[in-house]
Symmetry: C2
Subunit: 205 residues, 2 copies
Amino acid sequence: MYANLPDIYGVNRRNIMNFIVETSARHIHLTNEHIAILFGEGHALTNKKDLSQPGQFACEEKVELVGPKGSLKVSVLGPARKDTQVELSFTDARTLGLKDVPVRESGDIAGTPGIKLVGPCGEIELAEGCIIAMRHIHMTPEDAEAFGVKDKDVVKVAIEGTGRALVFEDVVVRVSKSYALAMHIDTDEANAAAAFGKIFGTIVK
Amino acid sequence: MYANLPDIYGVNRRNIMNFIVETSARHIHLTNEHIAILFGEGHALTNKKDLSQPGQFACEEKVELVGPKGSLKVSVLGPARKDTQVELSFTDARTLGLKDVPVRESGDIAGTPGIKLVGPCGEIELAEGCIIAMRHIHMTPEDAEAFGVKDKDVVKVAIEGTGRALVFEDVVVRVSKSYALAMHIDTDEANAAAAFGKIFGTIVK
């Protein structure tokens, strides 16, 4: 973190603070109960790759989402959660034929569309749980203090130098001791910003 | 246009000027020669729907794009042009398996990837012509004067009130007497801004 940097640039210190911008492709979080139905009783998720957020990992396991119009394979992200949640882009929702998938914060799934999940050992008619994740920045309390923001703040983030520069508004700040500093956008958002590879964002006023 | 409005808002007049933001789904422009190969000698394109730009229209005709990884149907836009040009989103390019499709202004196709085109009467191995269109605003010389911009200017455009507000940078201004005032973005960009339905943009500093 840059919190203790001298202001050698002669500008507001926040202007020189940035963070990695990561693209979240469509994925699913599963409950233990749903892991057992889809992959078999007693099945444990297989860590394929650790993600930037401590303790979170992409799994070898995949689930097929079967919508009214089409189907898509998605990676499972571990560990198990208390609710099963499918995170899509608007492009994915259209491919599946799902209407009215809302832009929501992770965990806020009440009243969202469901979908059929197909695994190697079973199927589930998920009643609700499909969201388009609201773009967000994970940060620790120390990061939040350094950036001058707090949990649930909605900020603007500039992505520069990609040839498709833009300023994302409606970016929610999520603060927890268990997080690491990173912004998450979906594949549509990454495409709109040409945010491919190692891209950094900056909070702007 | 608002060029002659009194400044009743007490603000820079440009702040109250806006324009419709239209989403261009993937499509293809064809030369007369290519229309003849794909749809048959002497075939005339069928106007399905007039577009916002005077004289431009979506056609009943569709062409299949066959890439290294997948294929997609695209609508033909008429009338015929001097070069065949395929306009994709990054999502489409990935679906097709096309790498290094550049973000370019319409017409600037030198050195861009080609693709196989399949129509009901024939096929073409297009040597070049696939671009991701640079986001742009069509306007007349009168509009340009009112906005205080000129042809080829690169501006910033704010999209507000969608729940996914953002400011698109790297937006090119295109001025011609034959244009009508409208901004064009691709489907990825529309998704990133949740710019669905009748959405307006504003040039911001």
